[in-house]
Amino acid sequence: MDTLLQVRNLKTYFYTEAGIVKAVDGISYDLQEGETLGLVGESGCGKSVSALSILRLIPNPPGRIVGGEVLFEGRDLLKMTEAEIRDIRGNRIAMIFQEPMTSLNPVLTIGLQIGEALELHQHLDKEEAREEVLRLLRIVGIPDAERRIDDYPHQFSGGMRQRVMIAMALSCNPKLLIADEPTTAVDVTIQAQLLEIIKELTSRLGTAVILITHNLGVVARHVNRMAVMYAGSIVESGPATDVYGHPRHPYTIGLLASVPRLDQPRKERLVPIEGQPPDLIHLPLGCSFYPRCTYRLDRCSDERPELRPVGPDHWAACGRQFES
């Protein structure tokens, strides 16, 4: 398999009046063609920002990508001109957003909105685009597509709108799909359906997926690899089964322990991670998880741990792992 996306030392900062918010502070990862990567972490850890940075959708001001490289099929997306990146967006790399209720334009029919990417990138005329939109609507499981193509977004439920978003994102057969918490805002019963649709369609098209979520259950079922983010950095990454089954970073361990599991006896108590995530303006000098870590050592407070291998293709950034 070829490497589709290489993110190298990506840094995205927000310049606010209170100071510089280091939302993404030097993350690196690779994504192979057709692979699904789960990007996990709690709210505000920089998952979404790192994904938006790939497509250069960070609002500037206040945000700015201050460093790093994002190599997509060998070309650095961060060095492209505005016209070049527009040609990538929606065509080679597509995105699904968290809020299906607000990611569709309320005054345009859904047919027109799905057709927009087709017109922009595939240069289809109105008739052809309409045919293609109908086909897409059927694929994502919208019943009665002929009638619903001319409906407005407010006539759809949240789950249906997210299907529309999936159709829109996959309309140009992208090589990479970034799904930013695609199921967070919909009912639990719908979540599984949507994830199945995404999984099935992307595997059929050979599309690689970056699935951003804070739902570890979703990750375990649907991704090949996972990366755990904390305070703007990746603290652990590796094959999903390894990270899930044998977490090596104290944060990952804590994260897994704080999720209720149906396969465990009920009397076991959930273990929360004590404390709060650090202020991204004043990051600690050493390990950013130091103040909350139960396994911390003295030197963790002033040495920032690097990602180091802890198993086959399994990496963790913890000073403790190598103490014997």
Partner: protein
């Protein structure tokens, strides 16, 4: 049950029918709509509707009181007042449309660009708008007429220019609110250009305040045009124009009050009609009142 049926019914309609439906449920808005429609029809079909030639004078019958033949009587030169009022609607409509077009066509793009690009662009445009707003509108109009000369065209240009900052402000605030919505980000994520985002996504969503403002402005424009016509700064005689007619009848108000009363009444009713319609539209387009 009844409630949910209504909702389903509302869903089945498109957004335009839905707005019309909500508009038609308000009596005052409906009255406004009817007045505006009558006004538009008289303006468009003036030659068919007016019983006499508005310019044909007959001094033998000057200041004649209303009769079956001349429903609203005759003016100081013996011209049919009803016909002149009907033809006058054309001038008022024309003035309204041109004034609003100037305001909308210049003001809205300024406001949209200002809001969308932000930063320095926003600063420059907004200071320009502030400067224009600091001038009293009627003074600006009089100044422009002093520069450009008296005449209908100049009145329209003058009043039109003075409305630009209002539309620029309005469009800016509407776009600022919409620009932050996720569908704009989604549009960027599929590779839409800035121009496309502005035309497809930002403009259609910021239209409702602009439509409401234009309707209300139509009333203001008619009033301004009549005011300037009354002062003798508008159309040249003998063109029938409401403000000028009012001024012509002013001298005879003691002996023949109908000459000034009917044009004045027309101005009043038309302005009221546009204001009622504008208020009704504002309510009908208010997203918070949607069921």
């Amino acid at each position: 049950m009844q409630e949910s049926l209504k909702k389903i019914e509302a869903r089945e309609r498109g957004p335009f029918k839905e707005v019309f439906h909500r508009l038609s449920r308000r009596t005052t808005a409906l009255i406004g709509l009817i007045i505006v429609l009558v006004f538009l029809i008289s303006a468009l079909f003036a030659p068919l509707l007016s019983p006499h030639d508005p310019l044909e004078h007959n001094l033998a019958y000057k200041l004649a009181i209303p009769s079956w033949d001349y429903l609203l009587g005759r003016d100081e030169l013996g011209r049919c007042i009803l016909s002149r009022i009907i033809y006058g609607a054309r001038i008022s409509l024309l003035i309204g449309i041109i004034v609003i077009s100037i305001g909308v066509l210049v003001g809205v793009p300024l406001g949209v660009i200002s809001a969308y690009y932000g930063g320095k662009v926003d600063f420059v445009v907004q200071r320009f708008v502030d400067t224009m707003l600091a001038f009293p509108g009627i003074l600006l109009a009089l100044m422009l007429i002093a520069m450009l000369g008296v005449g209908l065209h100049n009145v329209m240009i003058a009043v039109g220019i003075s409305t630009i900052p209002i539309y620029a402000r309005l469009a800016r605030s509407a776009v600022l609110a919409i620009k932050a919505r996720q569908f704009v980000e989604a549009a960027k994520s599929i590779g839409s250009s800035n121009l496309r985002i502005i035309l497809q996504h930002l403009l259609p969503n910021s239209l409702s305040p602009i439509i409401v403002q234009s309707t209300l402005h139509m009333a203001t424009a008619i009033l301004w045009a009549a005011g300037l016509g009354f002062l003798g700064l508008g159309v040249n005689p003998p063109t029938p124009e409401w403000g000028a007619m009012l001024n012509g009848g002013r001298l005879y108000i003691r002996v023949a009050s109908h000459v000034a009363t009917f044009p004045g009444l027309m101005i009043f009713i038309t302005v009221l009609g546009f204001n009622l319609l504008g208020d009704g539209l504002r309510d009908a387009l208010d997203p918070r009142l949607k069921t």
